[in-house]
């Protein structure tokens, strides 16, 4: 509900709910602890929104809240708004658990997030252009050359290849967390094929269906413009001279865990969802197979990884891609979004350098800081890390993912000593970070309304310019104390509100 008009029906629902309510405030036993709470911490400029939401949830009462939340989740199953989890050769369609208590961002908070995301996307694109062309940044010694050119995600195929508007990362998801003071910190950039945006829009729809009384009269930024913005960007980046570009979304198909999102995006853009077998390359042009024969394709929003795009260039065993696609692309006859080779920029090894990368290209400080990161290949970083091993999270860089992490405060003495040995043996392989106390938000649990940790992934779309979808995906760790918000590990999500300026309706 983005209008200021409060529907009478919503008021009636609210009044009825209040009358039914037990009178016990479900927030009465809510304690956020040492963490920053996204709803109960007083923030300037929320226009009273947080207090209204608390009051409305109180009026509905825990029992009704649970019943409605469960009905809403059942709707998600029926609507097939699901992702697929594969285990032991069985596929299970799961919903992303939905928590009905919204997460609220003030207009001022959003201004910082939006500016910070745009700045980061600009820096990532300038960095990618540079490393695939002049290589100033490594020649100037700002980022170590081996980290870039020795990176598994660096693609020599991209060297010297021009992309329109210098945009490599057309769709970017920036993972942001909040520390105990409420400061926003970037945890990770996702510059390959970030997912989750469909849930941002579907969560709002779900909220509107199931909790109109919580939303009534709230002045919040709409989220349903994403498809139109995305399609505009995809048309902008089409090869020069194409009047009415044919955009398609390339998906691995119905068995992919993110298939629902692919469906969502193709529908929101109004373009065909294609699989590799629907496309073919002839004379370095890409065509799709239709009932009327072949039709040209100009922009491909691909939701498959670089490795699988073209079996003649990358993995020869890939059945998902299109033979000859890279050739057509290098000829400038088709545009790929995101560009090939963006993975080098969102790598953990490069992440540590992002504040310097931003400074190098834009002459600005990062609007959204990194989590403080000590680079152990540098003398100071190594010394600090070795001196504070019991306080720090030590992570290997490069390909190893979640392996080899030592969390100082939870490690045994022997584990810390093992980390020390590994660090000294090969400092370049390590970074360290302080343990972040992620912010929490009130979340409906079996025990009542309880604090749960969460993060935020805003989505930026870039063609000629960058646009950021107001809000983003708030992922919630549904287990007490857990910091793991990933959907594959039981994380849920919340509707994320970006407030307009001014007072809310009471």
């Amino acid at each position: 509900m983005q209008s200021t008009h409060i529907p009478q029906s919503a008021l009636a629902v609210l009044a009825a709910a209040a009358a039914r309510g037990s009178g016990i405030d479900p927030f009465s036993d809510y304690l956020a602890g040492p963490y920053f709470c996204e709803l109960t911490r007083l923030r300037p400029g929320d226009g009273g929104a947080a207090a209204i939401v608390r009051a409305r949830i109180g009026a509905i009462g825990l029992d009704a809240l649970r019943a409605r939340a469960s009905a809403a989740e059942n709707d998600l199953i029926n609507l097939g708004i699901t992702f697929t989890v594969y285990s032991d050769a069985t596929a299970i369609d799961r919903i992303l658990p939905f928590d009905c208590i919204p997460r609220i961002l003030t207009a001022a908070e959003w201004r910082q997030l939006e500016a910070g995301v745009k700045q980061r996307v600009a820096a990532l694109n300038l960095f990618l252009h540079d490393i695939y062309h002049e290589r100033h940044i490594t020649n100037d010694g700002v980022v170590p050359a081996d980290l870039v050119y020795g990176n598994a995600n660096y693609r020599p195929e991209m060297e010297g290849f021009p992309v329109r508007f210098g945009t490599y990362v057309h769709i970017c998801g920036t993972d942001v967390v909040r520390d105990e003071h409420g400061n926003f910190l970037v945890l990770e950039d996702n510059a390959r094929t970030p997912s989750g945006v469909s849930y941002v829009v579907e969560n709002r729809h779900l909220m509107q269906r199931a909790f109109p009384d919580i939303l009534a009269g709230m002045r919040i930024r709409p989220v349903d413009d994403y498809g139109r913005r995305l399609l505009s960007a995809m048309c902008e980046i089409a090869p020069v001279g194409v009047e009415e570009p044919q955009v398609v979304l390339l998906s691995p198909g119905i068995y992919n865990s993110a298939y629902f999102e692919h469906v969502f995006l193709s529908r929101e853009m109004g373009v065909p969802l294609v699989e590799g077998a629907d496309l073919f390359v002839e004379n370095d042009r890409v065509w799709m197979r239709t009932t009327a024969g072949k039709r040209p394709v100009h922009t491909i929003y691909r939701r498959i990884g670089d490795d699988f795009l073209d079996p003649t260039v990358f993995r020869p065993d890939s059945l998902l891609g299109v033979p000859g696609l890279i050739g057509a692309w290098r000829r400038g006859n088709v545009t790929l979004a995101n560009a090939v080779g963006t993975g080098v920029a969102d790598d953990k090894a490069i992440y540590a350098y992002m504040p310097r990368i931003i400074k190098y290209y834009l002459g600005e400080d990062a609007i959204l800081p990194n989590v403080q990161t000590n680079i152990c290949r540098e003398k100071d970083g190594l010394a600090y890390t070795l001196a504070n091993l019991d306080q720090l999270v030590v992570k290997p860089v490069g390909e190893s993912g979640g392996y080899g992490i030592t969390i100082g405060p939870r490690a045994t003495l022997a584990e810390i000593e093992a980390a020390r040995v590994a660090l000294v043996a090969d400092p370049s392989n390590w970074i360290s970070q302080p343990v972040i106390s992620l912010s929490v938000a009130p979340t409906l649990t079996e025990a009542g309304i309880r604090p749960r940790h969460l993060d935020l992934r805003p989505f930026a779309v870039t063609g000629r310019d960058t646009w950021v979808l107001p809000g983003g995906l708030s992922r919630v760790a549904m287990k007490e104390g857990s910091l793991i918000v990933n959907s594959s590990q039981g994380g849920g999500s919340k509707d994320t509100w970006v407030l307009e300026e001014g007072e809310m309706a009471p």
Binding site: L79, V263, A277, T290, T291
Partner: protein, 332 residues
Amino acid sequence: MKRNTLLARYAESLFWMGRYLERVENLARLIDVTQNFESPGREAESWFAMIRINADEEGFAKGGLPPTADNVKRFYLLDRDNPTGIPASLEAARTNARTLRPLISTEMWMQMNVFHRDMLSIQEDELHGDRLSRLCGRIKEGVQAHTGITEGTFYRDQGWDFYQLGRLIERADQTTRLLDIRYHLLVPGEAAERKLAELTQWGGVLRAVAGYHAFRRVAPPGFEPVDVVGFLLRDTSFPRSVALCVEQIEYHLGQLRSRYGLHGTVAALERVEELRAGLIGRPINTIITDGLHHFLDGVQRDLILLAAEIGTAFFRDWRPLAEGQSQSQSQG
């Protein structure tokens, strides 16, 4: 507005989604009518007739079970491994719908999901007594809800025509199979007694296709079986008659050609011509004298050829031929 194009893969999925759902509805109708035909002491024969008219003797034999009434019911209503049964047909329809999610309406997809979940929960005890007929009613209504939602929400571009082609081909095929049920159910007894029993059976066939009352409105006072056969084959006002299906198939092929400029329709239209000629070329009496079963076999063969022509013209292209037919959709 953007030019109307349709991926060949989507066209194929629409065609098959339509076919599979029509098959589900007709299987429910067949089961319902078979139960009504059950004559005391001869239940197994009645149910085995269903296996025969679906040409499922081989598939049923694989299970190694005796052809009792219960086993046949299970074969069509519970056995997910039987590719011609209701669970597998509905599964295939839903898989096609899943492929089509970018195209079909949200309401279509949601109903399909709910229907699919309902059908997966069918219990053994619903196969018996008065519950079976109610179960068949629920299945029919599930498909009919799909049909209504599709009629009211699905965008009418060429995809609609492919969807209708699949439904109509399957419907025509199923009506011939239902007619064929008479051939497999020989009634013992004296001539007069037999005639009465036959008429009762024909009444059952008509009820199974919801055509009983319409038939009574147009049938001559002292109607004969030949009139029922004529009605189900040739009455172009009856929604499930073979002739109306053929007429509508021709209409949709014509739409593909004239409205969307698809040129692959020539061979298919020729098949339609042959089908129509076969249907109206001879008096019904002659068809029956020459052998109804043989005639219906011919119609079924022509429908298979028609489906093949549509496949060759519009679907075959998207998949490399070397890979052959898709796993679940190769059956005629």
